[in-house]
Structures are given as structure tokens and as C-alpha cells.
Symmetry: C2
């Protein structure tokens, strides 16, 4: 993929990452000085202690994710952007405003410095979009053949929004289930580059930060938002099954109401993939009070990343712990949690 | 290595980790249910949301580390214990009381379930010893040959102790430098298993949690503790060089005062390794007020893990940013930061 070098790369002594860059000695320090610390610059990171010092008061969300996606550059983003957005979104799903991230690299010896730099630029840009700061980090290097280019862990802290009241316990029979945008895009985008498939236009990953949308909705509708979850790995159906399991209630989904891009849908048909199990990186599910659902959808649609927000189903008394989907013909089928692995290393 | 299964392993459907265990679907959930959630059980983790909810008030330290050590089982510990102790110690070095950890696995397909379980037991035990809770986590699986058994990220949060006043800026000329215990043990323990070397007795890694020792010292000596740092990767000399660089002052070290186990010293001589660059996992450096140094050493020695605490040198006006070491004969040499990699994947 062609890379967009929006920040000019500094001069590094090496063209490739070496084992020495993970030694904790001079090379590590040089890499951090000319690379990481400079581009991600902020007061807290600049202290360069073993950890960051943070002033905090109130209730916070704390979430972690390791990203092992392959390929590391894909239509719509790279592993750096995904790593920031992924943890930002997990924090947002807790009803919290993401504030601080830690950033930890496991790099395979031989990664071109230009690729590492491009990933750093992706991290910088997505941090700016989400309004979060990287305040502490770590860099490890493993020998060639013992990793796969780069793995990234981000761990985030966010302050719970005062209006937020996210808790599985708040879910009632009759609650509506909203999906924020078109599904299955990320999974199909990754699969298409892996398989070298060509479609009319490139299908791009939907990776994006959802925190502003989520906080906007929480500000307006507070207690009527009972649960938020982002259906990443395992797709929509695995997340719906988790909700059914955790609430001990049933879920009914109207298949025709699930927003999906026409091209993504065709790709799924060609590839024999069920879009309900395909990963999303810019979509969230909201379980909300039934009488506010339409207003919440309208509010969501004011955000670009949620332009296709739709009510797709509801919480029901019958068939507890099961997710039932009705299709165009009025037929019904039970949708289970994904069992094996449809597409490994999707995030 | 023979494993000590202190907690009986539950029945898993698989003998080995498969790609499906990282799918985010049913297998991931089963692995978490019967494995991770059960053994690490606590109120916050039990919520099973995308993130943990934490009540916090005051000043906190936040630190991350990814662990890629090879081999994953070694004399004195395993990668799970190391991952807990490593982040606990980084938090402690900030003058903070470690409280919460996130835990993220990147597992190579094919890892025996029994080894994963043994690592989980190590994590549980070391969390208990350090008094920390794992409150959120993540599990990814990569295809065979794209990782190396298991990598672990831990990210921690700890509350700054009210008596703590850790800041490079507090370091003055004349301050004494204390090392808490015998150095170079971890590096030599790992090297000896990698190379299949035999010594009279097994050299064991010094991996341990230092938080109780550090907090004990801070409680008694507060403002007289100017800086704490643990010389892990890159060893004592890299950490001393970082202190010299960050303070813009010089450091003089008395070689004869550095505590080192006789057998570790012999091993270094045989292997041609400089113990000053060998990694430590249970040692910390303290830069302290010169008039309190003896008392601080005495206090440290009341803890088993700091029985060999010693004043090894001091901060000087001359040769800013340089570390000079004097040897038995009165000779002097400049010790630089480690340049390349003496021993990759040591932590």
C-alpha cells in the first residue's frame, strides 16, 4: 500500500529495527528520542519516568487491548490507528471520556523504520482525533520469525460521564437495540487485501474513534442508554449473544433493518461469509429505553460515523440467552456466538 | 522445567490453544470462563464489560510493559510472574502503591493448555503477593510461527504514596546512590538456561515484587528519597546513565561496593559478560539524601528482597551526564549506556 507520510520522518541511524532497539540501552533511547517521544510529545510523556503521573478524581474506566492485525497496513488505516481507536472505543463503551493511553510495541526485528514511522504517525493522528494523550509506553523487539512485523498494546483510562448509567442490570424487556452504522466493513476490507480480491471500489475498514458520538448521545439521553458494546471480533452476533447471556433475556433481530453497504454485502455472498460474524471497528450497539429509541437514532445520525444508525431489534422475555433473527420472508433462525475463527488476526 | 501445579487445572475442551480461542466468540468465552476469570476472580473483573470501573481520587502512577522473555519458564519464575512483578515494580518506582492491573495475552497457536494454566497460576500468585487485582484483560491468538509461545502485556495503576516526593529535579550533588540487592542475577539465570550451562547450584532469577519494600522506605524517609529506578533491561549501567543524562550531573560508582553473588560473578567471567549490563528483575536503585543514606540502607535490609542493600556511589558536580566507576586498584573508567543487545528477550 502507498503510505501517506504526513509528518516527515526524522533521520534514524538504521533503516530497520534491530534487536538492539529493544535492549533498554542506547539504541532504545535514540529510537525513543528521535521517534516516539518527539511525535507524541506532551507534558506527561516528556517526564520519561517508568510511569506517568496522573491526577484523577471520580469514577474511571480502564481497558486494554493488544492488536495483532495482519496486514499492518490496510485500506482505511494501519495497526497504529486501529490500536488507538480500539481502546478509545472500549473506554467509550463504558460511558467514559477517554483521556490517557499507554502504548506498548512488540516489534519483529527487521521492520523497516519507514513503516514504524508511518504507524507512529497513524497513532499521533488518531490520538488527536480522539482527544487522548499517550502518557507512558514500552518497546520490545523479538528476533526475526518470532513475531509478525509489529504487535501493539494500548491500555486506556477514561472518566465516566456524569450522565452515564451503563449497566447490564438496567436492561429491560422491550428495550430497543440500535446499531450505529453499516456492519461487516472492517472484516471484509481485511479479507479483501489478504486474498487480493478486487471490487468495483476499494472496501475500506471502518476504523474510527466513536467517543464523541457516544458522549454526545450520553449527554442527551443519559439514563436511557442501558448498555453500549462494540461488535469487533466475533461480529454483531457474538456481541448480541453476550448481551443475551449476561442479561438472561432473549433478543429478536430484524435482519432487514441491519444496515450494510451493498458492496460489502455482495462481497460476503461471493466469499460465503456471514456479515453477522464479520468484524467491525467503527460500529457500536446501544441497548436503550424503547420510548427514546427513535430520538436516539436521530441524534446518532447527526454524526458522520453513525449516519446509518438503525433500530435493529429488541429485548424479549421469551427464549432467554438466545438471539433469534427474522428474515425477509418472515422466517426465523437462532444465531449463535461464533464458534471457531472465521478470520484470524482481524484486530 | 518441571512445573509446580499449585492450582489444579480445570478441564478444557482442548489440549492446545487454537486460533479460535482468539476469535472473540464461543471458544474465547469458554477459555475465559473456565480459565482466566475463575482463577483471577474479583468483583471488578467479574463485571465482564469491555473495561473495568474504578473509583479513584488523588495522584496516580500509570505504567505499561510487554513481556517477551524466552524461555517462558525459567529458574525462579515464569513469564506470568515476571509480567506482574515487572509492572508492579514500575509503579512502585513512581512512589506509588500498585492497585490495579490490566492483562493482555498474545498467544501463539499450539501453546499447550497446561503451560497457559501454569502461567495463569503464576499471575494469580504474584498478584496476591503484591496485593494487586487484575481488573480487565484481552486475549489474542496468532498463527503458528508468527509469535513465540506467549507474550504478555500488563499495565498498572497505583496511588502515589502521600509521603512520596520522587522527581529527578530533587536530585542534588552529594546524594548517595543505593542498590537494593545483588545485581545481574536475572540475566545470568536466563542465559544459563538458554545455553544449557551448569553451575554448582542453579542460579535463579530474582523476579519479585518490590512494592512493600519501596513503600516501607517511603513511609519512613519520604522526601529524602529523590528517585527510584529498577535497572531491568540494559542493567545497572544503563539506568545510571539515564539518571546522569536526566539530571545533567555526574555519577561516581565504587565497583567494590556493588553487591553481587559469587556464583553470578563467576558465571559473568566465564561468559565474558559485564554484570553492569546484565538485567535485574528484583533490584532497585534509590538516589537519596546523603545524610540519611545509612539509615535507609538499614531499613531496606529488614526486607528479604533487599538483604544486600548497599551505598554504591554518589552524584557529583564534575563530568555531567557521565558515569565513572572506580575499581579495586583505584583506577577509573567511564561506563556508557549499553549500545547494542547483550542478551535479547530478557524480559
Amino acid at each position: 500500500m502507498k503510505m501517506k507520510l504526513s509528518c516527515p520522518m526524522p533521520k534514524f541511524d538504521f533503516d530497520f529495527i534491530t534487536l538492539g532497539h529493544g535492549s533498554g540501552g542506547l539504541l532504545t533511547n535514540k529510537l525513543l528520542d528521535s521517534g516516539v517521544f518527539n511525535i507524541l510529545k506532551n507534558d506527561k510523556l516528556d517526564k520519561r519516568h517508568d510511569g506517568a503521573f496522573l491526577e484523577m478524581k471520580g469514577e474511571f474506566a480502564f481497558s486494554t487491548d493488544s492488536f495483532v492485525i495482519s496486514p499492518i497496513f490496510f485500506p482505511g488505516g494501519n495497526i497504529g490507528e486501529l490500536a488507538v481507536n480500539g481502546t478509545v472505543n472500549d473506554i467509550a463503551m463504558c460511558g467514559a471520556i477517554p483521556k490517557y493511553l499507554s502504548l506498548s510495541f512488540i516489534i519483529e526485528e527487521g521492520l523497516p523504520m519507514s513503516e514504524f514511522w508511518e504507524i507512529l504517525v497513524g497513532i499521533k493522528d488518531s490520538c488527536e482525533r480522539a482527544g487522548v494523550l499517550v502518557v507512558t509506553g514500552d518497546t520490545k523487539v523479538v528476533d526475526k520469525g518470532k513475531g509478525d512485523k509489529i504487535f501493539i498494546n494500548t491500555t486506556g483510562i477514561g472518566q465516566i460521564h456524569p450522565n452515564s448509567s451503563i449497566d447490564t442490570k438496567n436492561i429491560k424487556v422491550g428495550d430497543k437495540i440500535i446499531v450505529s452504522n453499516q456492519i461487516a466493513t472492517h472484516g471484509i476490507a481485511i479479507l479483501s487485501v489478504r486474498q487480493g480480491l478486487e471490487f468495483e471500489t476499494t472496501i475500506k475498514s471502518d476504523t474510527t474513534n466513536l467517543n464523541q458520538t457516544v458522549i454526545g448521545v450520553i449527554e442527551s439521553f443519559g439514563k436511557d442508554i442501558h448498555l453500549l458494546k462494540d461488535p469487533t471480533r466475533g461480529g454483531l452476533s457474538s456481541t448480541l449473544n453476550e448481551i443475551a447471556r449476561d442479561t438472561n433475556k432473549g433478543i429478536v433481530i430484524e435482519n432487514t433493518q441491519i444496515p450494510i453497504d451493498k458492496q460489502v454485502k455482495s462481497a460476503c455472498e461471493i466469499l460465503g461469509l456471514d456479515p453477522l460474524y464479520s468484524a467491525n471497528e467503527g460500529v457500536f450497539l446501544a441497548v436503550v429505553s424503547h420510548d427514546k429509541a427513535d430520538e436516539i437514532v436521530a441524534k446518532m445520525r447527526t454524526y458522520d460515523n453513525s449516519a446509518y444508525a438503525s433500530i435493529i431489534g429488541e429485548i424479549v422475555e421469551s427464549h432467554p440467552k438466545s438471539v433469534v433473527i427474522t428474515n425477509t420472508m418472515g422466517g426465523k433462525r437462532v444465531v449463535n456466538m461464533q464458534v471457531g475463527e472465521q478470520l484470524p488476526r482481524i484486530c
